[in-house]
Amino acid sequence: MISSILQIRCLSKRFGGTHAVREISADLQRGQIYGLIGPNGSGKTTLINLISGFYAPDTGEIILDGEELTRRKPYELAGLGLVRTFQMPKTFASLTVLENVLLPVAGDGRSESLDAMRDAAFDALATTGLTGMAQHPAGSLSGGQAMLLQLARALMCAPVKLLLLDEPFGGVAPALKERITHTIRQINERFQATVVLVSHEMSTIRALCSNVIVMGNGQVIAQGTLDEVSASPEVVAAYLGKPV
Amino acid sequence: MDFELSGKLAIAAAAAAFLTATATSAMAQANATPVNIGVLTPLSPPGDSAAGQLIVRGAELGAKYVNQRLGGVWNSTCPAPGPVNIVKGDDSGLAEKGMAALRSLVTNDKIAGVLGTYDSTVALAVQPLAEQYKLPLLVTQASDDKISGNHTKFTFMTHTIARDRSDVVEAFIKSYGFKRVAILAENTDYGTSSGPDMQKRFVDGGMSSQLWIFDKTNPDLLPTLLQVKKFAPDVIYNMGVGAPAYLIVKQSADVGLLPKTPMIISYDLPIRPEFWRNLGELGKNMIFLSYYQPKQVLTDAGKWLQEEYRKSYNEPALYSSLAAFGNTIVLAQAMNAACSTEGEKVSGALVKGGFTSWNQTGVAFKQSDGVDWQRSVQPIMVLQYTKANQGFGDATILYPPNMKTGELVR
């Protein structure tokens, strides 16, 4: 049975004179992987920042699995199962990779000691292929490995309900792209997690996403399979006639 | 608040006057505006506010004494006597704050005289202001030689100057036959002027002496004291003021200088109640200078003060309070003698007359040469505790010889 996990109602955000997000409403289903695409400046990252609590919306509401999110702090969202990654990976450079993965556990008030969580952490590292790097400082990782590290950290925030990925493949070596794709699938399957993937790489979108949301000028201009949206005249117009 | 205070004072003064004077003069006094006397003293850090508080207490009781026993002072509408009123000014031990506070006392409170200065830097800074305002300035506890050496018309010294103290220490050390004197002085005005002077006196006197000037803000004096230990003195002159004085005692014990080397503290720190609590056994045999000893015979005014002080504060009055009390009643006596509160006339009376104060020595301000200009010389004693937790009154008087009550314990 398909059920709704995220409802967005009439969400708007202005920055001065720029209307970055205009009255977006959407409904995302549990366990689906969505591609969020659109030309530069169409409001994709703003939307991700709104959902993940980094911006407060001017109007509208966001409901994750029955919980209203708009008034929550970013740290509370992790506890509710909402996890995001950043385009420029945010890792803790001088902590080891293992410590980076353990960090979400440190803050959630769980009584288990770090030692008890070590197995789960190594499991997450195995999934992301970072086991060999466990004792290295995170600062020594490549961009792709740092992205994998963010995903490994997401695995520790279990159960993940919604994973927001902002350009996870930007500047990543092809071998690691495979690994990232694999990990995203793992998270999606293990937790029945909904994934929203912002990317410009249509091949990975096609491979991963059952559903694509296209944004243009702060609004959702099309939604459907990649083939469906490619055919939409609005989408074609938004990309200035370039074929998607 | 101000209104309430002056009202109360007027009522108190009136009640006192009923006992001593006629009904008519009492009516006049109740109606008279009080004569304000300023107390300019450190009441907040970095000044020594402990001393400032004692000075204020002495001055306030001085005013009470003047109003109850002397029937107030002569107001400008002579011959109707008016009550005196103490107005506080906080100098924080800083020259610039002292100057600002004095200006405010003069312009806002219209004071007719000021006393209380504790730090020499403050006294020297306000001295020209007192000249400018023609305001009698009684220096309660500052001790720089320059204060009287400046020969200013409105400044009067009742406190001993650094030279008196140095004279006493020198004479004491000579008379007890010490040969190697270590001097520890602070990097303040007091330490950097008196310290080298003391060393020179000892060396000139045929002794060997070394001087260490330490940083007042640095609580760790062990490195200094290790050097002192190497010098192997037979007496240590501790010129620390406040916390450093204690630190020198404690840390001298740490390096093994105490208890075998006699130590002299340059002022009456050991009479403060916390001395024994802080030092315990280490305070035993401590030698110190004092301007007062509880067994000494006081004037009637001095006895009155001790009694009132004990009633108000439940402890005996110490030198700072006695000195400020003395200054207040001397000033009032001068106003009475001049039949005026005008600075020129009061100063004239101060120079002319002899006045009663708290001790038997009395107060007179002759315009003598050098540092003895308008300065009333007061006795200094060298005392020694002979057992731990000893009361101030039981300390042995070692010096001057005519007051001596016992022998030096080593």
């Binding site: 945010k90 450079a93 979400p104 803050g107 | 508080q53 803000t217 490195p223 290790l226 916390a243 740490d254």
Partner: protein
């Protein structure tokens, strides 16, 4: 030789206490990104709390324990830990919003706080100096002709133990990991689910607690009075600049280094310049290695 040994021992003991204070400052700086200018006043409050506990409250309760001083110092640390958290939540947190101008005011608030605490102490306790009984008898090393103040030895050792415990907290517990994460990257730490508001409050409590226990331990050596924190603040800042702001290891190394430079300089050259040696050391670092021993060349955002 004897003099050298004695001043080296002293430097070691002083270093431990310096390290405690500097860690308090640098810990708060690395978590909250503000400099706590009221460090010396928390040191002072710690010394007063210790004085009250040891000389008034324990005797009133009829408590006679061996090592009561250690219990008292730790309780003083606990009290200031709580006070620090209350102060952080009520006075600093409202302004502490990184990236806004109000953030700068949080630092100013700590300056105001130092004045408040100092004057408060004068009002409550008066301006006099107090002391507590020595923790231990002097230690006499006969062969070397060295006498060591028992309180210095005891407080130095206690300080080392507390530093060690603090390291265990930081490197062996989940709370410590959370702190280290926040010190690295506040934004990422928040995304990972750490409540920065709570962690900031804890960090301020811990940092001020470390300074307080230094003040408490040193009570019999450097006395208890409202202005006894001034030297602590100055030394603390010298050390964190030398060690590199935000580097705990740097703070520890710099603390021992400073104690050594001061002690040797004062013993073998001129004692009155003791404070100056520290500043020369500091200026040397600012000229040749401005980021400090273990600091980074630029401040992380």
């Amino acid at each position: 030789m004897q003099l050298l040994l004695q001043s080296l021992t002293l430097a070691l003991l002083n270093g431990a206490i310096y390290a405690l204070m500097a860690m308090g400052i640098t810990f708060i700086a690395s978590i909250m990104r503000i400099i706590n200018w009221s460090t010396g006043e928390f040191y002072m409050v710690g010394s007063f709390a210790h004085l009250a506990l040891l000389t008034v409250i324990f005797p009133a309760l009829g408590l006679t324990l061996p090592m009561a001083w250690l219990l008292s110092a730790l309780l003083a640390m606990g009290l200031v830990f709580v006070l620090g958290m209350v102060v952080q939540r009520t006075l600093i947190a409202p302004m502490h919003r990184p990236g806004t101008q109000a953030f700068e005011y949080a630092t100013i608030m700590t300056v105001a706080l130092s004045v408040l605490l100092q004057n408060g102490a004068i009002m409550i306790a008066g301006p006099n100096q107090y002391s507590v009984p020595d923790y231990m008898r002097p230690i006499l090393l006969e062969d070397l002709e060295i006498v060591l103040n028992g309180s210095r030895v005891a407080s130095g050792l206690a300080a080392l133990a507390i530093i060690l415990l603090f390291y265990v907290l930081l490197y062996r517990t989940s709370l410590g990991l959370a702190f280290r994460g926040i010190a690295q990257n506040r934004l990422a730490a928040e995304t990972a689910g750490l409540n920065l508001k709570t962690m900031d409050m804890l960090a301020f409590g811990i940092g001020t607690g470390l300074c307080a226990v230094a003040g408490a331990l040193l009570a019999p050596v450097f006395l208890v009075h409202p202005l006894n924190g001034a030297a602590a603040t100055m030394k603390g800042f010298e050390i964190i600049v030398i060690g590199g702001i935000g580097s705990l290891g740097g703070a520890v190394v710099a603390a021992f280094g400073l104690a050594l430079v001061e002690g040797l300089g004062a013993t073998f050259y001129r004692a009155e310049l003791q404070q100056l040696y520290g500043f020369v050391f500091l200026i040397g670092f600012l000229v040749f290695r401005p980021q400090g021993l273990f600091g980074h060349r630029e401040r992380r955002v």
